[in-house]
């Protein structure tokens, strides 16, 4: 314990120099501003801003990059709440209730809850990393392909609970998501699947392209149909910040979300993606009146947003202690560290303690900065909702297009987004929800990869999923979730509550 405080004080000594505070602030601010462009998630933002850190010393550069990362991550939630566009996979859940809140004139409360929830989660995650970072590393190493596959199966079961309408339709959408995820080059053989010989499909469908289409573009199309509905938002903005009542409602979801998101964030292979989904599922299950979910329940914003931020931070654990990046954003951080002459490995903690603890301390400072930057900005963002449709919609489409193009610098991606926009509109008209499809899509890629890896290693024996205790445990939880969701009495209740 005393060692932890000694380490943390070393860290704060590094992070609290005027220069590093300024870098942290700049990083968070720039990250927030760029990340708020629809479609520009943390990866695109960091890649874009990487060159501006070249002139800095390694510690300063990494503190700034980490700030950009948190900022961009938070920016994604802002678009999810305001315009129903998730900047990345982890913000998909926020659209469910966050955007509903915005429609009810509670956009400011939703944004404030997200900011405060993220800050609380960030504080706890910083402490977790400082105290348990090294031992928790072992958790990352316990998860092989088999365990990971079972975790994904469990995640898919969340999707069923996620649905607002009929379970059958949600199930169809999950399957569609899984199917879409199989488009592209086969990982094992290098053969193209379902690409129709069309080269831009050879790497599969990009998440941003799909999400931007079925959420952003489709939402615009739907609103064009009936321009009057949103006038409610334009006249009545409501409170800018959460009331005491709101905060009381959010505390427990926020803490649960932090725990869930923080734990999943440590896992290799992008476990953090599941965090917000898991948190949402649990909040909905625990709620006295689950029917409020999907209609602007504040817990549905507080929990997932906390999980999201806690996961974003604990994802640094495998990188800093093992030297192995658990997801694409962290892989980019590895590149950034390497460019600055620090090659991440298991020895970063002992070889560069100032860097290691400085970064951990700056995580907390970064979270504080985000709060300071974002609470005043809430008013600005909410005012954006008052912009008339004829200006707002073209602007959304333009920014979406810029964002999509900047991800891979491929013009064809923009065309695909438009196509998915039409498809998403069709889904809305037919009463299908896009969120379960996106979850299926995100998990599908990982699931297939892990399933095949596990089977190759076990020489084709499916028993490997049951023989390994962690994997078996996760599968049991999955079965339990399904049983609860599908129990006749419960589904009957669902029917009553959710008839459209």
């Amino acid at each position: 314990m005393t060692e932890m405080f000694a380490n943390l004080s070393l860290g704060f000594g590094v992070a609290l120099t005027l220069k590093n505070i300024a870098l942290c602030f700049t990083g968070c601010l720039v990250g927030t501003l760029i990340g708020v462009l629809p479609g520009v998630g943390p990866i695109a933002t960091i890649a874009m801003l990487l060159p501006i850190t070249f002139g800095l010393d390694p510690v300063g550069a990494l503190i700034m990059l980490a700030g950009i990362y948190y900022g961009a991550q938070y920016g994604g939630s802002t678009t999810a709440i305001l315009v129903n566009i998730p900047g990345e996979a982890t913000a998909v859940v926020t659209t469910l209730d966050g955007h509903q809140m915005a429609k009810q004139g509670r956009a400011g409360v939703a944004l404030g809850t997200a900011a405060i929830g993220s800050f609380v989660a960030g504080c706890f995650a910083t402490l977790i990393i400082a105290a348990l970072g090294a031992p928790l590393t072992k958790l990352a190493l316990l998860f092989g392909p088999a365990e990971y596959f079972s975790l994904m199966v469990m995640g898919l079961c969340f999707a069923v609970v996620l649905a607002r309408g009929s379970i059958l339709k949600a199930f169809c959408m999950i399957m569609l998501g899984l199917l879409l995820s199989t488009v592209g080059t086969d990982l094992e053989t290098g053969q193209e699947r379902m690409t129709f010989g069309f080269p831009p499909l050879s790497d599969g469908i990009d998440f941003a392209v799909l999400a931007m289409g079925v959420f952003g573009f489709a939402e615009v199309l739907r609103n064009l149909e009936n321009p009057e509905t949103r006038d409610v938002v334009r006249t009545k903005i409501g409170r800018l910040l959460p009331s005491w009542e709101d905060i009381k409602q959010s505390i427990a979801p926020c803490l649960r979300g932090t725990f869930i998101g923080g734990t999943l964030g440590i896992l290799p292979g992008n476990g953090a993606v599941l965090g917000p989904f898991a948190s949402y599922t649990i909040e909905k299950k625990l709620a006295k009146d689950p029917s409020r979910f999907g209609r602007g329940a504040i817990e549905g914003v507080a929990g997932p947003e906390s999980a999201n931020n806690a996961g974003a931070q604990t994802a640094f654990i495998p990188l800093l202690t093992l030297g192995i990046p658990p997801n694409a954003v962290m892989a980019l951080m590895v590149g950034a560290m390497t460019i600055h002459g620090i090659i991440p490995g298991p020895q970063v903690m002992t070889k560069n303690p100032d860097l290691f603890w400085g970064m951990i301390a700056s995580m907390w400072i970064g979270n504080l900065m985000l709060l300071i930057i974002n609470l005043p900005l809430v008013g600005v963002w909410v005012k954006l909702l008052q912009v008339p449709y004829r200006l707002m919609f073209p602007a959304i489409l333009i920014f979406c297009s810029i964002g999509i193009y900047s991800v891979n610098n491929q013009p064809v991606d923009v065309a695909f987004t438009a196509l998915f926009g039409l498809f998403g509109y069709l889904l809305i008209k037919l009463g299908f929800e896009p969120a379960p499809m996106l979850l299926g899509f995100v998990l599908g890629k990982l699931m297939e990869e892990k399933l095949r890896q596990a089977l190759i290693i076990s020489r084709g024996s499916f028993m490997t999923f049951i023989e390994r205790p962690i994997s078996a445990g996760l599968l049991l939880v999955a079965v339990a979730i399904l049983v609860i969701a599908l129990l006749p009495s419960m589904s009957k209740k669902r029917e009553e509550v959710f008839t459209e």
């Binding site: 998860f143 980019l332 590149g335 002459g341 020895q347 190759i456």
Partner: protein, 323 residues
């Protein structure tokens, strides 16, 4: 109308080289990196291009165009206008292995592009999980041959450097059908190697050096002619008893075919100056990179390297059972 367009194009074609001759470069140059930002090729591209920009007096902007094992980005780069404003940083995979790996490849690395020069060689290591039975390379060779049905090899996906170099190794060992587990990138593969889910892999020194130093995985040999200063204790394949396994994952610059000589000369000169710069040298050496020889920094020398490795890899890769 068509005639007018044609004559305009012709006029432009005549006018462009003349302009380029006197003033190249007069606007920023795009360097396409065919992989995601942060990867080994991207890092080398950014280190080198920063210094080249100073020599050329124009900024080189790195643009990451990832996809299809890097072939998407290279296709775009080498089919661009040959004016010197679009160049690419490719590697062993995109320039030497791609023709054998991707049958529908839309460019010809041997005859269809202008080579500029090599930016750096990255040694390849054979690494294994800590608990893997063989103690040295000789034991490894015997063990793998005897237990071909039990051993698991990991790689970062078909077309990646680790896949390419390990397929060469498996071909030379006579166990082309060895069980191979595909991952999306080096990171997850390394994770499962450290945790012992898979047995061995081949990969670039920059990705594995820190793990070897920390003892979380072990290295059998480096597939270069000389030991790497970054890992002086790891023997070469020649020393350790597998001399035929010689392969390096280099990165180098190329441009569309038919680049004006003026532009080629200026780019070659800028690359050479960058590689002689002390800061650039130090940063590259820190990554475990082998600095290119005088010969390899020339267009002809780089072209010869591409051809040499293509000849070495093509038969193995074409014959490789893609599972």
């Amino acid at each position: 109308m068509k005639k007018l367009a044609l004559s305009l194009a012709a006029a432009l074609a005549l006018a462009l080289p003349a302009q380029a001759q006197s003033k190249y470069p007069e606007r920023p140059i795009t360097m396409i990196v065919p992989f995601a930002a942060g990867g080994p090729t991207d890092i080398i591209a950014r280190i080198v291009s920063e210094n080249m920009s100073k020599t050329l007096g124009q900024q080189i902007v790195v643009e990451n165009v990832a996809g299809a094992g890097g072939t998407t980005g290279i296709t775009r780069a080498v089919t661009a206008a040959p004016d010197g404003y679009t160049i690419a940083m490719g590697h062993l995979g995109t320039f030497s292995a791609a023709p054998a790996t991707y049958p529908g490849l839309k460019y010809d690395p041997i005859n269809g592009m202008t080579t500029i020069g090599l930016a750096g060689g990255t040694p390849i290591l054979i690494v294994a999980k800590k608990a893997f039975a063989p103690k040295d390379l000789k034991e490894f060779v015997t063990y793998v041959k005897a237990n071909a049905d039990k051993v698991n090899e990991a790689h970062a996906g078909v077309g990646s450097v680790s896949w390419t170099t390990c397929t060469l190794l498996k071909g030379q060992l006579g166990v082309p059908k060895l069980n191979s587990v595909a991952y999306r990138g080096t990171g997850p593969a390394l994770n499962d190697l450290v945790s012992g889910q898979v047995d061995f892999m081949c990969d670039q020194i920059v990705s594995v050096a820190e793990q070897i130093k920390a003892g979380t995985i072990k290295a059998y040999a480096v597939a270069s002619a000389a030991r790497s200063p970054a890992l002086p204790d790891v023997p070469t394949t020649k020393e350790a008893g597998l001399p035929e396994y010689q392969i390096e994952a280099w990165n180098g610059i190329a441009a569309p075919k038919g680049l004006p000589k003026e532009a080629v000369d200026k780019l070659v000169d800028a690359l050479d100056k960058a590689l002689n710069d002390e800061t650039v040298k130090k940063r590259l050496l820190d990554l475990g990179t082998v600095l290119p020889t005088k010969e390899e920094r020339t267009p002809a020398g780089f072209a010869a390297l591409i051809k040499r490795d293509a000849d070495k890899l093509s038969p193995v890769l074409s014959a490789a059972p893609k599972q």
